[in-house]
Symmetry: C3
Subunit: 435 residues, 3 copies
């Protein structure tokens, strides 16, 4: 047993201090590259984490309705903030205002929100503010979530990296709007399986040409990928394309076909296929925007075995939504070379669950497969505080287990941290060059 | 990062010391208000936590049969206590005998049980002993579990607060005894859906008049609430009322109808509806009394979405039995304003599971929704030791996360503790006044 | 609250230091008693934990194909070791080479693997090496995993204790090879249910005569034991025995019949029946040998209720594979006297999951039912490092909870540790003497 380090917490602080100076490579966000930073405080406080928590704590959803004046929404919400000020989400908020708006107070209250609105008003600075937040946060690359018909024009795609989000293609192909959008985006007259494939191929071409580094999808708990029978799918696909009514089993066929096709294109274009498994949309329809989705915890990656086997040459970074599903992901990433645990998602993105999952991943998985963290942010300001939350947990685990438990040096611990936070994500999401 | 606190454990001890002086508001017990404290030791040692653990460790169930002499039961069980003396349940027992019976020894053994039986004999003191335990424990209010036909007479309902327990109505309506009891309790000649509703309405009226502050039910894992079709339910309800044989789907219809009716009355009478989700009764029929129930861990709150949506104005304090279901409850309480995590129940009521669940709840949920703890006790003596177990865990988490992690003061940490332990339960279970 | 112990970590080190001097009683391994220790390094590095992790990290499975030269396999694998050197599995490896091969370096690399191959070559020593590893590790008894037709000859069965592994009988009875093996092993002309029972009875007789102390089986997640109907099973059993095609429901009947029969013989011969619940075989067929199995986490012990009830006099040590199923096992072992949690298995055998499970078991279960740990090892060298991993976790929990939390002495904590690690396993697996 290695010599006792009497102060693991001061070691953890030393590790965190170093990590907090590192650049950030963020492989999944919902940033709008045309307006990445928050130019007014409503863009911060309007984040669904705050509106849904305030609503959960008693605020009527109407008080943050999208058609209200932004300043009104902020004033409405701020009077509920004291009900949620013990949460980690509130801690992100405090770190944001301290870091980016030099906020000198301990709290955000109805009494001082006027001062904060002034301090956080960066409309006049425009893009200069985006750059300042980028620089202060030491951002290196931020992945986007682009609809398949996004034009992908008008920004630096090396900084704001396109990702092809494909939920609508798989889950809503039978919606006439989807087909119309697909035809417009691909310039292909989609009529059947073959032309559907042609159109989706065009999307991949365009995304890869514009620097996309991943294809991504979120999948409900009742979705089970399976190798589709081409013959059997002909009719359902045609019915979906022509907006004819589909039986439930035909909807399943359509989903299976399109999903499998996406995986085939990921193989062809050498794109990682991010699987975000678990959400059920609109479980709570009366909730605030962005705060209506939940999950059914009874999921298993066992349903994905055929996919993982068949597409041995596709990398599948996987996030699971049900926190109790995290242990299973460790086992699947342990055995399947092409399955990697990706970050800590949404309802699983709180310190208690991150610590449990991260500890298990670090103990059981090849270090080259640890795909640290992503922010899932809508505005740049959130990236650093969320990464700092993760870095603190990582620092704690390294101080306890690696340095005290195994006798590693601080330098060795930091090397592993860098692999997890930066090197692995950069390599795995390194673009479609042969690796 | 806040300045390092070098001694989180001494901080935790300071926090606990303060909390241990607070009054206790206990929103769920099985106390008998007519004989709340244990006047002899068999009422302590006969708690199913001890009989089932001793039986699990090899004691034949007959040795604690209900028809045995109490002193014989105690003598029988005590010789198995050394097999379970490392458990947290045994730690409650030691705290009880030290606190209430000035027990000077480290253990309870066949050799000293005679002394303990003497010390713990409070038959002569009668109600004075109830009062002493009440005072020593600093009890403020203790919620009961009342059968729907409980007379609710003969005690101070401000101290011993009635709760309407409804398992029999939902799960055993087809049992002729249930209907007979319902007719007697409501004075309504129950014959069909309408008169059933009338009878249940009478129960709510009476309970609320007598100060009831919650309706409660425990539900098996295969129960999924759904909005019933009134027309379709007419025949099954009538068959149930008249003790005719029901098909399985008809039993489901009856359960759905009665459960939905209860939720409607909770809305009308502004009563929180405690949902205790998970147990399967009598999984181990050869077990000791109270030690025969278990669960199937494959449950999801997703089955409750229609209920939570439909009854937006009913507060649902929720306890789940499968410890691994705790993370899902955090997510549902995060999104649904009317869903609150209630305590730590039964098989989930051990420190390892409490700590995991509590940490996640404190990090992710509005602090005004944290419904700390309940004792589930059958005798007053258990309340303080169980709350102390919870308070120690709460103190540890606050010392680590709030004080060391976020730089809060001891005062701020204690304010949050008070909210969780006292203020929230008192407000949520504040009676049927408009809040 | 007991007086503060300021240094729980030095206490944990003291506890571990003591435990590391204790003998090891290992109730489940895959050791070959005819060649128990590794006489060359490929037998260490060829353990599926390393081949599967290296493969998961990018090594083609062909590089460790069984038909390659052992030294080639080692050289191939070693160049991938730096990708997995942060895992706990790698920590076992380092402890092995330091303990048994006096390895002076910090790492195992392509540059120094030649030196290690030399140091670890014990072919010439032969059985003397087995004895040295046995002695260095302080082994007392090591349980084997014997196929039902294993001859059980040629070794000291007090040291290498036979266990009857029964997967093939239950899950592959319809395979003609199984029947042929059964006839040969039992000398019974198996033709129907009665002769099947006779043959299996002969196996039990022989195993018990040769000192077997457990019957064991691993069961897939979709297996649910149920009391078979003898009449209904006649035809499926006969079809299975004569290699006729079985319908899926008939396969289920066969499995149910044979499994129940095994439990009956466990009752008759007073053998514990180890249930290892969860694995699905060959989920990843392209994996390395031993690295192809995974699980479906949606399992529940509720499916085993009929078994546990019916065979009240059979002891069922239970291991579950899905780490998130650990909490349910605590509850079932808490209630059923004949259900005991056995070790920490395979994907659940990493410190993060062990700590969670062990803490809960120690808090909630009778101490006499805590069946500590088993190594699952294929070579003797792995036993001590794996037990040391477990002992460190046990020492941490005892230092924190028992000594600091409850004020126990070091001596008391060590007594509990000894019960968990040695006394309980020896008693539970004490052979078929009446207990």
């Amino acid at each position: 047993m290695p010599p006792l380090n009497p102060q693991p917490h001061s070691t953890a602080q030393e590790l965190f201090a170093e990590m907090s100076r590192w650049p950030i490579f963020d492989p999944h966000t919902h940033i709008d590259p045309r307006r990445p930073a928050a130019r007014q405080f409503d863009e911060i406080l309007g984040y669904h984490y705050y509106t849904e928590l305030a609503h959960s704590a008693g605020m009527p959803a109407e008080l943050v309705a999208p058609d209200l004046d932004p300043s009104t929404r902020v004033h409405n919400l701020v009077s509920y903030l004291d009900r949620v000020d013990s949460t980690v989400q509130y801690a992100w908020l405090l770190e944001i205002v301290r870091t980016f708006h030099r906020w000198p107070h301990d709290r955000i209250t109805p009494g001082n929100i006027g001062e904060l609105l002034d301090r956080s008003d960066h409309e006049r600075e425009g893009e200069a503010w985006d750059k300042e937040v980028w620089k202060t946060s030491r951002l290196e690359a931020v992945f986007l979530t682009n609809e398949f018909d996004d034009g992908l024009d008008g920004w630096d795609t090396a900084a704001y990296v396109p990702c092809l989000r494909t939920d609508d293609l798989v889950l809503k192909l039978h919606d006439p709007k989807t087909i119309a959008r697909l035809r417009a985006a691909s310039d292909v007259d989609v009529q059947d399986c073959a032309s559907l494939r042609g159109a989706i191929g065009r999307l991949f071409e365009r995304f890869v040409q514009r620097g996309a580094r991943a294809c991504a999808i979120s999948l409900p708990p009742d979705f089970a990928p399976r190798r589709p029978s081409p013959r059997r799918a002909v009719t359902p696909i045609r019915k979906a394309i022509h907006a004819l009514e589909l039986r439930p089993d035909e909807i399943e066929d359509v989903r299976a076909v399109v999903f499998w096709m996406l995986a085939e294109f990921c193989a062809e274009f050498r794109l990682p296929f991010d699987l975000m498994i678990g959400p059920v949309r609109n479980v709570y329809p009366a909730g605030v925007a962005g705060g209506r989705d939940l999950f059914d915890r009874r999921v298993s990656l066992y349903e994905y075995r055929e996919l993982f086997n068949h597409f041995a040459n596709v990398t599948f970074p996987v996030s699971t939504l049900a926190p109790d599903a995290g242990a299973e992901l460790v086992a699947y990433a342990w055995i399947f070379p092409n399955v990697l645990p990706l970050g800590h998602w949404w309802y699983a993105n709180i310190p208690a669950f991150i610590a449990t999952d991260l500890r298990a991943r670090m103990q059981a998985l090849p270090k080259v497969k640890l795909l640290g963290y992503y922010s899932d942010a809508y505005k740049l300001e959130f990236i650093a505080p969320k990464f700092n939350m993760y870095r603190r947990i990582l620092a704690d685990i390294l101080a306890e287990e690696a340095i005290r438990g195994r006798g590693w040096s601080v330098e060795e611990a930091l090397q592993l941290a860098k692999l997890i936070l930066i090197d692995n994500p950069k390599r795995i999401f390194g673009g479609n060059q042969p690796s």
